[in-house]
């Protein structure tokens, strides 16, 4: 696989605060994603995993700027791209679903209208044709009775159903890369399982590449073929899921694995010992 075959190629990405040259948030992250590959990006809060996925979409907050490195999606450079170019890439080459399905749909427009808008942003199709596609999409993400619900408003859906609508919108333009930033964190466990199942099917059918951002390494391991562990703005470990789970190389990964609760977990074991060991190895917070 050459670099240009990759759906996503990030090389030596450095991101920092615009206002303070001293503060660097991502310290030269590199990552390549092949077509159809699923990568789980795991790490604790503040490790830079969400910042990385937002940067891929070209959506880093205004206070933050990309200092060096490149992000290529389907061979197109995202870093420094104009807004109009980003609008073309978003939706068609890459799409994103994220945490809060309760507020991520426009409350005053029907879900159908929003999906239609998404389809028509990238393809010249009639409103009627786009609406038919929207109904098909809603059906394929498991929304019941899509012919009727297409005209419903977001508040008429439950959290899980809204996340399905979000997924329908995200895949409406058949992106090659799907960024899922904690898509199930706000949902209860049973809904979470159903959404993961749905994602699994859709990704399989459509051959999308996925970056699955989560703090839950157990969830990531069930869904992804590869795990990248991030800590303090660096990818500290990467490898096939089975390999990483069985034989973690980095102490931080071991600590993350140790944090998974199982029936065998010893409740008296100190939870933070693994992290403390990792701190000692990486030089603590000196960065």
């Amino acid at each position: 696989m050459t670099v240009d075959d990759a759906v996503l190629n990030i090389s030596d990405l450095r991101i920092g605060l615009r206002a303070d040259a001293e503060v660097e948030l991502l310290h030269g992250v590199s990552m390549t994603l092949a077509r159809g590959e699923r990568v789980g990006l795991v790490g604790e809060s503040g490790s830079g995993k969400s910042l990385l996925s937002l940067s891929v979409m070209g959506l880093q907050p205004p206070a933050i700027d990309v200092r060096s490195g490149s992000i290529r999606v389907n061979g197109s450079e995202v870093v420094g791209a104009r807004d109009s170019r980003l609008d073309e890439l978003r939706g068609r080459s890459m799409a994103m679903i994220y945490q809060d399905p309760m507020s991520s749909l426009n409350p005053v427009r029907s879900v159908g209208a929003q999906i239609v808008e998404a389809i028509r942003a990238h393809a010249t199709v009639s409103r009627a044709a786009a609406r038919r596609t929207a109904i098909d999409l809603l059906g394929s993400v498991g929304v019941r009775d899509p012919h009727r619900t297409v005209d419903n408003y977001p508040h008429e859906f439950s959290g899980g159903m809204r996340q399905r609508v979000m997924i329908a919108m995200a895949i409406s333009c058949e992106p090659d890369l799907l960024l899922a930033d904690e898509p199930t964190t706000a949902l209860d466990v049973t809904t979470q399982a159903k959404i993961m199942e749905l994602l699994d099917d859709l990704v399989e059918q459509r051959g999308m590449s996925v970056i699955f951002v989560t703090h839950d390494i157990a969830l990531a391991s069930s869904f992804c073929s590869r795990i990248d562990v991030m800590r303090r703005g660096e990818v500290v470990e990467t490898g096939p899921t089975a390999e990483v789970m069985r034989n973690p190389q980095h102490p931080y990964t071991s600590a993350l694995l140790a944090s998974i609760c199982t029936f065998e977990t010893d409740p008296t074991r100190p939870l933070l010992s693994g992290v403390a060991a990792a701190d000692a190895l990486t030089g603590g917070a000196s960065r």
């Binding site: 073309e88 978003r90 939706g91 994220y98 991520s104 409350p107 998404a118 995200a170 333009c173």
Partner: protein
């Protein structure tokens, strides 16, 4: 399925209740009825009083009587008929000015909110500058320079009232821009212009409606003031302000000539203000 239906019904009830909340306030009901009455009366003026401008010299300056409820003017014309026609012009100017101010203000505010930075600064400082000049003075200068046909008045009042709409639109748009659904639409590749005008606009519409209602009241006020000092609508055309000004010359003997147009202006402004303020207060409470 039953739960979905239940939620939908509850929501429908809630949505209807926003109008119900407004109508539960008797002052709003009275104000809305007043507005309706005045509008109907003005619109129907040509039908109700086809010969309002016919001069009838023997009946000059008659006091109110059963045949002339509001009395007659200096040329013997029925004052009620003249007021109906004048009201038509007053409302036309006020509504035109409101529409223009909203269109200008919404675009103005949305551009400021979405570009930010120095464009925002320039646009909003311009708005501040216009708002800092007393409105009547601003209008005076332009009327003196451009004349005072109804069209010119609409444009001037529209421009004078636009900054208020711009400010309100900008602040509401900025709130909406940070919301998750805007990010959701951005990640699927909707352009900023599309997001602003098809997605955000319906969300900020209620706030704009409140400003629009208040702008109507204020436009009537300024138009009447300009007419009163002789810079508004010129005879033979007449707005309520023009009638008031002419009637003022016949005080105190022809008291009805000034009194009824003045009362009409007051009532209409009060009615629009009552509705506008109530919408504003309702929105405030919802925001809490």
């Amino acid at each position: 399925m039953t739960t979905t239906t239940a939620i939908a019904t509850a929501e429908a009830a809630r949505r209807r209740s926003s109008l119900r909340v407004l109508l539960a306030d008797p002052s709003v009901v009275v104000a809305m009825l007043t507005i309706l009455l005045v509008v109907a009366f003005s619109v129907l003026a040509p039908v109700l009083f086809p010969d309002a401008n016919a001069i009838d010299s023997p009946n000059r300056l008659l006091a109110p009587s059963p045949s002339h409820w509001f009395g007659t003017d200096e040329l013997g014309r029925d004052l009620l008929a003249r007021m109906a026609h004048a009201g038509q012009l007053t409302l036309l100017i006020a509504l035109g000015a409101m529409a223009l101010s909203i269109v200008l203000g919404v675009v103005w505010g949305m551009l400021a909110a979405s570009f930010g930075g120095w464009i925002d600064e320039v646009l909003m400082r311009t708005a501040d500058a216009i708002l800092a000049v007393p409105m009547i003075l601003f209008a005076l200068v332009f009327v003196a320079a451009l004349g005072s046909s109804p069209e010119v008045l609409i444009v001037i009042l529209g421009i004078v009232k636009a900054p208020l709409a711009a400010r309100v639109t900008r602040s509401s748009t900025m709130v909406e821009l940070t919301s998750d659904y805007v990010r959701g639409l951005t990640v699927i590749g909707l352009s900023k212009r599309r997001i602003l005008f098809t997605e955000i606009l319906p969300n900020v519409f209620p706030v704009i409606a409140a400003v629009a209602t208040l702008n109507i009241a204020s436009a009537i006020m300024i138009e009447a003031s300009l007419s009163f000092i002789g810079l508004g609508v010129q005879p033979p055309l007449a707005s309520l302000g023009t009638l008031l000004k002419i009637g003022y010359g016949y005080l105190p003997d022809g008291w009805w000539y000034a009194l009824f147009p003045a009362a009409a202006i007051t009532v209409v402004i009060a009615a629009f203000n009552a509705v506008g303020k109530r919408i504003e207060r309702y929105l405030d409470r919802r925001a809490v």
